[in-house]
Symmetry: C2
DNA sequence: GTGAAAGCGCTAACAT
DNA sequence: ATGTTAGCGCTTTCAC
């Protein structure tokens, strides 16, 4: 039924090992005519290596496990995409396991991967500490992406929160704002701390005095941004701009401002963080700083295959810089419906390629 | 280094096959004491089956391939989640391959899966015909999810567009609307045709005459909904409600209405389709009908494992019904900030479980 | 440059 | 109820 090496060997008149050497591009010396003949026969017979058998022999699977907190987080798919795009270029596949923040499922996931179907594991977005004991057991390389650890962790890829938040603040200062409110994340998160620190440091660097009344902690959700926005508006000296630690809270602030009969960016400028998809479909479109998720995934893939191929030498934490996306909510430029890559790629791609969706 | 069956056999004093029989829960008879002893030893030694070796022997991998157009489509991750959640319950894993609408990559993807690392393949969201020749070659079961085929296809799971769109229209009629505009999808899509047909049929069923001026074709994008909205407003007899064939166009229509100084739902009611994430963070929150993506994924998983386990008997196309989500844009109820499951699950889950994000 | 032999770790068939 | 033998398809010594 299925054609195997033996079949190709028989038909080509060479032995199984020789055929194997040709078909795997082994550096082993093989005569040119043998190579040609074998390649031709293999092609003709439609030979496909049984990678299960190969793996058993070589103890490599060319597959990387990706363990994910939550596939439905808006940040997860682009990270995975980044990982897979890099891996695909190296002819690696990936096995994605979802743990749903459930430590038991996580254990089960690691367990499945202990059965050696993968050459290494990338942990995406884990917010809590994976028991290192488990990981040691794997004696396979592992890489962390977007961990919210406070301390740098070996073999990890994280956003450069401090730098990115600085981009947002600098932008607002550059537009002439001196009273800039900050809706921070909840206390106790390092992400919160780093973005807040950048806010404070950049203001200080520009010689702008800090006003504690201009900092409000949110909980990452829209409603907390809304509440913070109302707070800012009730101040005797209200800010002229707001930098929110994520897009959701930024949008909440926009709503509070609009509800008060004021305009964004006319009366107050607003800048978010994350570059979520919705920032281009809300009104005004949100100026924001990107969480470079795709790039982080790509780098994690690189890091991983480096470990797989070469040494298991642990590498420093990689910090990835995001970009400022200037849109409408900051008032930076007059007409900003600029040609960004469309966000709903499904549809745009279809149109692009002129694909007929119907039979 | 790694412990294998042989090691457990030696230490427990039984033979390799006996150990195998115990550890795989084979129905083969084994004495109770042997079973106890072996289980204890295996546990103690930390034995893990090498599933690569097992697969080579059994020709089963307990892994399903998922081939995806675009992982970044908003519809894809929930489908995958549905598939994986079902598969995980059956101790199956999945290999996700992205083709990015690129026929070459698609071929490559199928190619990789031809190396038999999977027991079957689920195609998600393919908008064009996968060459059936390739698929026959697999001689593995395959299932299609959310194909936009016009004709029903064997072993496929698709949304019941006709039913779902009917839900939206019925809802608007139930609220007393008689002039209801429809922003349809682009011509040539069966999805478009089915939603439009439901719109027409439901109006007819309620004895409401059809007015061709009340149907405008969009292209699924926000701007086309906006344009359609403006068109409707310029009508001598403008509609009192709009049903858009997707949420993005519905939001566009909302913007057009608001820009004209009118209110949603005060002056015009708007209902969308898809139940995209942004429908709960825009203002007003969008009433919509869900594309039951998660359920579709789950059912695809069921369908697949049915094929893997039992017969390869081809099944009819499964049509999955969505649900109406009544929010603010239709004016159905006064205060509708009801307790829905929060959409940004990442964060909410963290808060829920009281996880400490920092070490 | 090529082929014969061995074996990766497991399970299924065949003994006993 | 248990053990012995064989073999899944491949790659890697090793011998020629």
């Amino acid at each position: 039924m299925t054609v195997k090496l033996e079949d190709v060997a028989k038909k080509s008149g060479f032995s199984v090992p020789t055929v194997s050497r040709v078909l795997t591009n082994s550096p082993y010396p093989v005569s040119e005519k043998a190579r040609q003949k074998i390649l031709a026969v293999a092609q003709e017979m439609g030979y496909r290596p049984n990678i299960i058998a190969r793996s058993l022999r070589t103890d490599r699977t060319d597959t990387i496990g990706i363990v994910v907190d939550d596939l439905l987080s808006p940040f997860t798919p682009p990270i995975i995409r980044g990982i897979q795009d890099y891996l695909a270029g190296q002819n690696f596949m990936s096995l994605i396991l979802n743990t749903d923040f459930n430590p038991e499922l996580e254990k089960k996931a690691i367990d499945s991967l202990l059965g050696r179907p993968v050459d290494g594991i990338i942990f995406v977005e884990f917010s809590h500490q994976v028991p290192l004991a488990e990981l040691e057991m794997l004696n396979k390389p592992f890489v962390f992406v977007h961990r919210l650890f406070g301390q740098p962790v070996a073999n990890s890829v994280a956003p450069d929160d401090y730098h990115n938040a600085g981009l947002a603040v600098d932008h607002l200062v550059g537009l002439g704002h001196r009273r800039i409110g900050h809706v921070s994340g909840p206390q106790g998160w390092h992400t919160t701390a780093r973005r807040l620190a950048a806010y404070q440091d950049r203001l200080a660097a520009h010689g702008i005095p800090l006003d504690p009344a201009l900092v409000r902690a949110g909980d990452w959700e829209l409603s907390s941004g809304y509440a913070a926005g109302k707070d800012f508006l009730s101040l005797a000296q209200r800010p002229t701009a707001v930098f929110a630690a994520n897009d959701l809270m930024a949008l909440g602030a926009v709503y509070a401002i609009q509800e008060a009969g004021l305009r964004v960016p006319g009366d107050l400028a607003v800048v978010g963080y994350d570059n979520r998809d919705f920032t281009t479909i809300c009104r005004p479109q949100l100026t924001t700083v990107s969480l470079p998720v795709y790039e982080m995934g790509w780098l994690a893939g690189e890091l991983m295959l480096g470990q797989v191929a070469d040494s298991p030498g642990a590498v420093e934490e990689i910090k990835v810089k995001g970009k400022l996306y200037i849109r409408e909510s900051c008032g930076a430029e007059p007409a900003l419906h600029t040609a960004e890559e469309p966000r709903s790629r499904v549809i745009s791609r279809r149109i692009l390629l002129n694909l007929q969706p119907d039979e």
